[in-house]
Symmetry: C2
Subunit: 243 residues, 2 copies
Amino acid sequence: MLQAVHSTQVPLRGPIAAKAAPQTVTVPPRDRLAALAVHRRLRAKETAFYEGDAADALFEVVGGVLKLYKLLPDGRRQITGFAYPGSWVGIGLCDTYAYTAEAVTDVTLIRYPRARLESLYDEVPGLARRILSLTAAELATAQDQMLLLGRKSAMEKIASFLLRLSEQAEERGDDACELSLPMSRTDIGDYLGLTIETTCRVLSQLCRMGVIEMCGRNRIRLRDPDQLADLAEGEALSSASML
Amino acid sequence: MLQAVHSTQVPLRGPIAAKAAPQTVTVPPRDRLAALAVHRRLRAKETAFYEGDAADALFEVVGGVLKLYKLLPDGRRQITGFAYPGSWVGIGLCDTYAYTAEAVTDVTLIRYPRARLESLYDEVPGLARRILSLTAAELATAQDQMLLLGRKSAMEKIASFLLRLSEQAEERGDDACELSLPMSRTDIGDYLGLTIETTCRVLSQLCRMGVIEMCGRNRIRLRDPDQLADLAEGEALSSASML
DNA sequence: CGGTGCTTTGAGCATACTCAACATCAGTGG
DNA sequence: CCACTGATGTTGAGTATGCTCAAAGCACCG
């Protein structure tokens, strides 16, 4: 069973999580993966699993957006990431999930039983490597986020967040200046380590500065992406202090 | 070459990065890995690689402690982790390193050329899985750190940090109450998203509260680990407000 | 001993938080 | 269709936590 190696190459679905090099997996494994897959739908606000649950499955996001978060005993919340189509959720070696996964919008998932998926790691060349690649991309994103959370100001955080959304939109083939924000202001704050009030205030300030424009609650138009990029890295333009 | 599978099992060196289940790899791969390995020594303050360098190798820490950090253009720094013996450094899919790795103490590393290591992933069963396990552990740690950076107070950050060091000491078989802090106060601050002054102040406060005791600059004794655990999760005891 | 680098402590301040009021939107039912 | 309601978002005023700037203490090392 370890022989079945040199067959045609088929690209797996690409990751959202940025810089992952295009990877491939041989065909038969694709089938063996498919044999494990079970589709699952969630309505907005439903959870796929809770932090602390037995981690018996991995999920691939096919449609919609999930938020992944951790809680402190007193209810403070940190969203560790948003999962867009192409993301894998629940990766991590532990036997319990390290975070809760809750649907922001209606969501479609593919569920892979963990034990059976992992038993394929050693049999299906490229599979472990593929998962590794996704995990490594997620790790790189997490490290960027640590820099953001630990060292950036509120303005820099919001600007960085909008820019990342813009890059993702571009990767998806959408207009990089027309952002959709499916998550609430509270969610954005909990992702960036801010309160909802600060999140609102900074967004309003960016509007006043003419850097962005709000088109309804969940839609933002970037009017000056270059200035936004400057703001994201602390190159506070003089106009930043005006107002 | 895909046949050489069922030989005796040998545990690879365990990870510091916590909850990784003990994993094993078959013997021949161990040899193949060893064939790639090159030892390297660093004196304190030397760097193994810089953020942005071509990522042509992975490193396993054998002795000493490294700090891994990212910089903003204006010099603000976020340490994303400390690498103790057993840690692998430089994991991440990118073709450039995502952070700088600098020796805190004198350090001994094993260097694995990345391309050649990765070419073994599909040939050596268990290898990719092993690296995946390490990466996943690092990801879980990173997510904990996001919660800390985004949502914890200075006191909670310091308390959490000391507790994690204590757990690591225990895993290493050392006394869980006798912590060695090889890194400077500045490093601790840059790891926790604090300034050096706040770091000092909180440590002093913990001393005054009788929770810890400082035995020289780089050594701390935990006198009340239970209270420290309470402080780490925001269960601010009344004594916390009494200076 | 005197330097240099790291740490500690103090005083004042700024950023982001808390609390509170109000505005807006989406969904519901009259 | 509009009025009502609850949820979500926005804005303001005051405050607190942690930062900045500054000085002094301490330890290690020639």
